[in-house]
Amino acid sequence: MFKSAHRKPGQNTYASQVEKYSTLKYPHRLNFYDRPPLDDITIEEFEICALDRLRLLAEIESSYARNRTWEELKQVALKQSEHYLPLNSNTAKNKNIEAERRKDHIGHFVLRLAFCRTEELRRRFVKAELALFKVRYESDDRAEREEFLQSRDFGWDAVDDAELKMYAEQLAAASPPPMSQAGGKALEKYYKVRWTRVPDLVEKRRVFLKGGMAYVPAREQSSIIFEEFQRSLEKSLQLTLKHLPRLDEDTRIVPLLDNLSQGFMAGISSEWSSAPEAAGDEITADMIDGLARKHFPMCMRHLHESLRRDKHLKHHGRLQYGLFLKVLGLSIDEAIVFWRRSFSTMQDDKFNKEYKYNIRHSYGLEGKRANYPARSCQQILTSDTPGSQDSHGCPFRHFSSENLQTGLLSMYSSQGLGASDLLEVMSYVKNGHYHVACTRVFEITHSSQGVKKGDGVGNGESVTHPNQYASRSRELEKSSESVKVEGDGDVTMG
């Protein structure tokens, strides 16, 4: 309190603020949603608040799916917010702040009811809500944000000067200050929390750890807040789930909630998830060598060639490649034939015991019988980073640049990729735009079928899934073949 009075010295403003705050039910733009709304809500309001928020969350989720950068996502979310769920700061004039915040509050709690029901829904809801909170946090007014942080206990301890001095060197090395501030400036403030509160900073080694405490610099403070937001939301969802059965008798609300959760599920396309492509596209084990040469993205070609060379693939390689082939249209029987032949040096007995089960499992025929989707680019890029003996992963991300260039040339030069194209592809790789690099390779290798730079895998889309790459490539081949057939019918070429 003293602090805020100090920052705003004018007697009048201070007094007026006190007055305003005492009447405002929602003093801050940001909300940790610790308390549920307790007023009466009409059923119509109940639905509208939820639907508008849902639209916003669906937009955020699809941004993730399209691999948008954080900045792009933020722009999209802010724009959609203005439309569906505006939320203005305390300084905004002529806006009904109170009503906006009430809508935000109610919407959040209704969606909790709708999305607490399955693990999958909870995970997606938390992810989208967290992104929304981050967007708002970053776009919030500094002073107001500070006040919001004061209003809630986050359980951090400021690191005292003695400790700051003792660990000065380690602190500087663990979280080096940004260039502009380096040198001269007074010691930065640090906060001490259990390391489990800031897993993201720990994972990237961006803090100093001692005896289980993480020393978080003031500028990374937001990590603690975001983690706390996520943790408390996850916990509340579990609680909500426990109480949900009591709602069962309410015939007004339950169907509404069902609708909402289905809407969220449908909001995001999962075209490449599981079903093999349209009937008639069945492929057999014998066709794979040919398909790989013509249609596979580099990750899959690399796996294919590794398999041919080593007569074996490690676990994650089998998984990444096997699920890809499944979605491509390889039936379970053909899959077993394919893998059996590929592991040509292996005894039948060993294959049947150790591998067949896993292949059947990935087709949903064993164990919990889940129909596993093929891995998307994002999954390949971010999860199960290849270990030192593995062949899976994304070549653009996980190869050294020399191996990547050699690999590209050896795999794709027959389709028109030349040494002169490497420079461009490698420049995308260097900037971390792996999917752009992959898309560019697609464009180059399909230029004979009329694909131009910027076309991507149709309508300028970039590659987000290996199966998308392969099926687009096969489509192109089919359409150019049919053109040829028609052409042959009309004129006989000399």
Binding site: E169, Q170, A173, A174, P176, R194, W195, T196, P199, D200, V202, E203, K204, R205, F208, L209, K210, G211, G212, M213, L241, H302, K353, E354, D384, T385, P386, G387, S388, Q389, D390, S391, H392, G393, P395, H398, F399, S400, E402, N403, L404, G407
Partner: protein, 413 residues
């Protein structure tokens, strides 16, 4: 290990081992943290591997005796330990799926010699010798000290895996409660060697190209790796006397004068000893111009890390519901018992001196048995004793911890 290959692991031998030697009581106290059975043991999943590779999951028991009875009845070739669930695993079909979730689990690490295949010359694949063990020894020292110092965990149990690796089980209360996300974060902190077969440079830990090493890694380099590198890689393995290997190492240097010169020099004398080659490189760096020199010095540190830092099997540690072979099981290929290892004496641990089932049963036969009937702690009469004692001491510390927190809670009330 031709002798080990002929180890008799028939069902009769295994049954005798479980009936007379396996320390079920010790396993129980270690998992349970108390004398009276708690959720920590009752809701714990065990998975049995039976003869013919039949895999039986979701076994659970109320007491050590019940577990022993079941193990003797099924006579598995080995069994694994999973998480503590919110309900008894054997009852899982009677509860709602949402009420059956993994809740607690020791934080585990697995280090396996196969991940070192590209940097050892003495053995390949499943084979392991005293020289390979040095890699494991360094890994144990690094991991043990890092976890204690940085994460503040105290209850670490190291267990030899019976053939070519070692497991670590951490039983501190906080470690047991970690979520998958937190486990992943911790593994990320510990993982330094990254990138598949096709990535040359597997160490990328600096912030920016020329930033300092993170303090945790700097400490590890200064106190362990700096010494381990010349000892293991240069002298013992003499790794860079193989053309393929020194070429790999040289690729880690930035392209430039130093790299080219060394390439030419070693081309002429490919089998030159590793220590001499390393000296060549240091000399070359010393005489390089100042700009190149400063980057090269960092590269040298990175090389040391790449060749000696522990190579973790990260997937094992990331998920609460991963199953890991229980201590004191018998390795199905070597017949050796998976015994606890003292990390402070890791350098003197000799995997080939670990007792095998056959050997232990032989020892038992040599002792004249006076009493008839069920045998409970016959291990006391064999060379398994020091290992069981080590486990009991570890479990004792855990029980002490629980007592302390309970007493604390009483006082505050």
């Amino acid at each position: 290990m031709p002798a080990a290959m002929q180890e008799d692991l028939s069902p009769e031998v295994m049954l005798a081992f479980y009936r007379r030697l396996y320390p079920f009581k010790s396993l129980f106290t270690w998992l349970n943290h108390e004398h009276t059975p708690t959720k920590q043991f009752i809701n714990r999943e065990f998975a049995f591997t039976l003869a013919g590779d039949v895999y039986l999951r979701y076994q659970s028991f109320v007491t050590a005796d019940e577990m022993k009875k079941q193990v003797c009845q099924m006579n598995p070739t080995r069994f694994e330990i999973g998480p503590v669930y919110s309900a008894r695993p054997r009852d899982r079909k009677t509860v709602r799926p949402t009420a059956f979730q993994p809740q607690l689990r020791e934080l585990v690490f697995d280090i396996d010699m196969t991940d070192y295949d590209s940097i050892r010359t003495c053995c390949q694949d499943a084979a392991i010798c005293a020289r390979c063990w040095k890699f494991i020894a360094v890994a144990v020292r690094v991991l043990d000290s890092s976890i204690r110092d940085q994460f503040g965990y105290k209850h670490l149990l190291w267990v030899y895996s019976g053939r070519r690796g070692i497991h670590l089980w951490i039983s501190d209360a906080e470690a047991m409660e970690l979520t998958d996300e937190q486990r992943r974060a911790l593994v990320g902190w510990m993982t330094v060697i990254q990138g598949g077969k096709d990535m040359v440079k597997k160490v990328n830990v600096r912030r920016g190209a020329a930033g300092p090493l993170p303090p945790s890694l700097q400490a590890v380099v200064d106190s362990y790796l700096k010494f381990a590198f010349p000892d293991i890689i240069l002298d013992d393995q003499n790794l860079f006397s193989v053309r393929e290997r020194w070429e790999e190492m040289l690729k880690l240097l930035p392209p430039g004068k130093v790299r080219n010169e060394l390439q030419e020099e070693w081309d002429m004398d490919s089998e030159r000893a590793s220590a001499d080659k390393w000296q060549d490189m240091r000399d070359a760096i010393k005489s390089a111009d100042s700009k190149e020199k400063s980057t090269l010095k960092l590269v040298v540190q990175d090389i040391v890390l790449q060749y000696t830092y522990p190579r973790l099997d990260a997937e094992v540690s990331k998920h609460r519901n991963h199953l890991l072979k229980a201590p004191f099981c018998v390795h199905p290929k070597t017949g050796r018992v998976c015994v606890p290892v003292d990390p402070s004496d890791i350098d003197n641990f000799n995997p080939e001196a670990v007792p095998t089932v056959g050997q232990l049963l032989q020892e038992l036969n040599n002792v004249v048995t006076e009493t008839e009937g069920e045998h409970h702690s016959d291990w006391e009469k064999t060379s398994l004793k020091p290992y069981v004692d080590m486990m009991d001491k570890h479990a004792q510390a855990l029980m002490e911890e629980v007592r302390k927190t309970k007493r604390g809670a009483d006082l505050s009330w």
